[in-house]
């Protein structure tokens, strides 16, 4: 109880309560995350259960339109799948890939950033040059290339099995330089401070110094970067899946749903593509706004 009370009184919590944007986007983000994570429990239907699909239900419009019914509040797709349930399962996939890719680039960036900043010299020069070159190219292009190479190098059935991990790797590898740069900058500053020197004098190894003395200094900026990166990673995954090179049809994400729904735009079934799009925007926008707020709240100069 005491810790909760203390957390409630902290600066961060105060600035959170004072910002309507932050509160609103936190609520939206929470709805998206709960809806996605608990999809198997909360979703009204299971879109993967072929036995429950009925082609008679196909192309039902949303409930607010004349022919809609409350059984499918935002309609059904071409195979009679409930769009709301498909969105919840799709968001689960999008969130899983987004979070995994962000964690992957975070770990890779922190590791390489610490190495570059602490070791300096040639290693630093080489790593940062690679990061420079990579930052010149838009990350969706890098993710596309990695995915394309994996597609060409792996046999087709193996690629389909591990497609999710290929996409996570492709997006993760395209986003590490920004994490590495942040960590490197801080590592270079802290390396020469007296407390690090003192720690070295009493015989603490470099790995432990980096993890317990240097790393805590960058946790704030890393948290901000990771939050903003989550939104970007979700968009990257959706873009890859929309282009047809991301996740396979058997594991649809929001991007896959939008691509499939696109085929029905012209026959008037707009809800199959628009609602997954709205879900994607709600998720990304709320995460981005939270990240923006966090950046301002953790910046002492703006207080």
């Amino acid at each position: 109880m005491n810790t909760i009370a203390r957390a409630w009184d902290s600066d961060l919590a105060y600035s959170f309560r004072r910002s309507p944007t932050a509160v609103l986007s936190a609520i939206v983000a929470l709805i998206c995350i709960v809806g996605a994570v608990a999809a198997p429990v909360l979703a009204p239907y299971n879109p993967f259960d072929l036995a429950s699909l009925d082609l008679m239900d196909a192309f039902n419009p949303p409930a607010f339109m004349p022919e809609g019914s409350l059984a499918h509040p935002i309609g059904t797709d071409d195979q009679g799948r409930d769009v709301l349930s498909a969105i919840m399962y799709g968001a689960r996939m999008s969130l899983f890939v987004g979070v995994s890719a962000t964690v992957f680039s975070l770990l890779l960036g922190v590791l390489l950033g610490l190495l570059a900043g602490y070791a300096g010299g040639t290693l630093d020069a080489v790593l940062m040059r690679i990061a420079d070159v990579q930052l010149t190219f838009p990350n969706i292009l890098i993710a596309l290339l990695v995915d394309g190479v994996a597609r060409a190098a792996l046999p087709r059935d193996l690629h389909d099995q591990i497609a999710v991990y290929v996409v996570i790797f492709a997006i993760g590898i395209s986003d590490w330089p920004r994490f590495a740069r942040t960590v490197r900058g801080s590592a270079m500053v802290e390396r020469n401070k007296e407390y690090v020197l003192a720690a070295r004098v009493i015989g603490i190894g470099p790995a432990r110094i980096m993890l317990t003395h240097v790393l805590p200094n960058v946790l704030g900026p890393l948290l901000v970067l990771a939050t903003l990166n989550l939104g970007l990673a979700i968009i990257s995954e959706a873009t890859l899946s929309f282009l047809g090179v991301g996740l396979p049809q058997t594991q649809p994400s929001l991007g896959t749903l939008i691509r499939v729904g696109n085929d029905f735009l012209f026959s008037g079934e707009w809800w199959i593509t628009v609602f997954p799009g709205v879900a994607l925007i709600a998720m990304v926008l709320s995460v981005n706004l939270l990240g923006d707020w966090l950046r301002d709240a953790l910046n002492p100069r703006l207080r």
Binding site: V133, T136, F137, P138, I140, L141, L144, L145, D147, G148, V149, R151, A152, A153, G231, I235, A238, T239, F242, L243, G244, V245, G255, I258, N262, L265, F266, G268, W270, T273, V274, G277, L280, I281, V284, L285, N288
Partner: protein, 324 residues
């Protein structure tokens, strides 16, 4: 100046070489060109003849040099998927992508610049707030979703504009242009907006923050104290000084416009290089992927080089001798 230019070019070279190495590795070690070109049935003698003809029996460094030599001549072999020379495929699709990129940049500049100036000069007006909210949504919206929504509203519901293809094109030598026919121009509208929207919001926010900064500066206050009219202060003093960073960003973003045209071209089935690339990725067509990789890197490296040199021309502090 020559030393600076030279050092910049020397820095760009290793990048291009590294990209060429990646493309070469893809080309040589991923997939099997021999099997792809010979098909199902062949004799050992046929196979050996093809290996010798392609130079695959030579040491890898020699192969790499040949690859670079061929690339400099625009030779990337045959596309596995279409069985046509890769260079011819790119030549026939380049005009579509370049015209789209050009129109997207025009849209971004023509709307983003005035909107940025306005929001910078009147930060508190309701229109400025509306524009800023719009720009926030524009940054968060994925490109493909913008395209889908535009198609839904303007093609399906209103029926005003075409939703796919380039319309009728006119052939000028080897360049096919959509600028000269009504259907070509109509087909350009939706893809240009889709592709330009992100750059538009970027330019809007950049110009706004630069204007806010400049309007606080001493020389603008002094110009006002001298009794100059608002119009000449806003445009002669303020806007002119915000243009340098804006030009830089627009230049650097030209590369990402070409890269993001992959998505826009897929949404609108625009017959450009991006669509070609995405079709090659999904069918593992290595020669086209390698060529696209090299081409797009050359574009990026060139743009960065030009922007660096422009900086040098614009910023006297760099000329004073420090170099970079």
């Amino acid at each position: 100046m020559p030393a600076f230019v030279l050092s910049r070019i020397l820095q760009a070279l290793p990048v291009m070489l590294a990209v060429a190495l990646i493309a070469f590795t893809l080309f040589t070690f991923v997939g099997d060109p021999i099997a792809t070109m010979l098909g199902q049935e062949f004799s050992v003698a046929q196979r050996d003849a093809l290996v010798a003809a392609l130079g695959l029996d030579q040491p890898v460094p020699i192969q790499f040099l040949r690859f670079i030599g061929n690339a400099l001549h625009g030779e990337f072999g045959l596309s596995y998927r279409l069985s046509r020379p890769v260079s011819a495929l790119f030549a026939e699709r380049a005009p579509a992508t370049l015209e789209l990129a050009f129109c997207a940049s025009v849209v971004a500049l023509a709307v983003g610049l005035p909107a940025g100036v306005y929001t910078g000069l009147r930060p508190r007006s309701p229109l400025s707030r509306a524009l800023l909210t719009f720009s926030l949504v524009g940054v968060s919206l994925p490109t493909f979703l913008i395209g889908s929504l535009l198609i839904l509203v303007f093609s399906v519901w209103l029926g005003w504009l075409p939703s796919f293809g380039r319309g009728d094109t006119v052939q000028l030598g080897w360049w096919s242009t959509g600028f000269l026919t009504l259907s070509g121009l109509k087909a350009l509208i939706l893809p240009s907006i889709t592709l330009g929207l992100f750059q538009l919001t970027l330019i809007l926010r950049l110009v706004r923050s630069e204007m806010l900064e400049v309007m606080r500066s001493d020389y603008v206050k002094f110009a006002r104290a001298r009794g100059l009219r608002d119009r000449s202060i806003n445009f002669g003093h303020a806007l002119r000084n915000t243009l340098v960073p804006v030009i830089t960003i627009v230049g650097l973003q030209l590369g990402s416009i070409i890269a993001f045209s992959i998505v826009t071209e897929t949404v609108f089935q625009w017959p450009g290089m991006g669509l070609l690339f995405i079709q090659s990725v999904s069918s593992a067509d290595i020669p086209v992927m390698a060529a696209y990789l090299l081409l797009i890197s050359a574009v990026f490296v060139t743009i960065n080089l030009v922007v660096d040199l422009l900086y040098y021309a614009v910023d006297p502090r760099l000329r004073a001798g420090r170099g970079h």
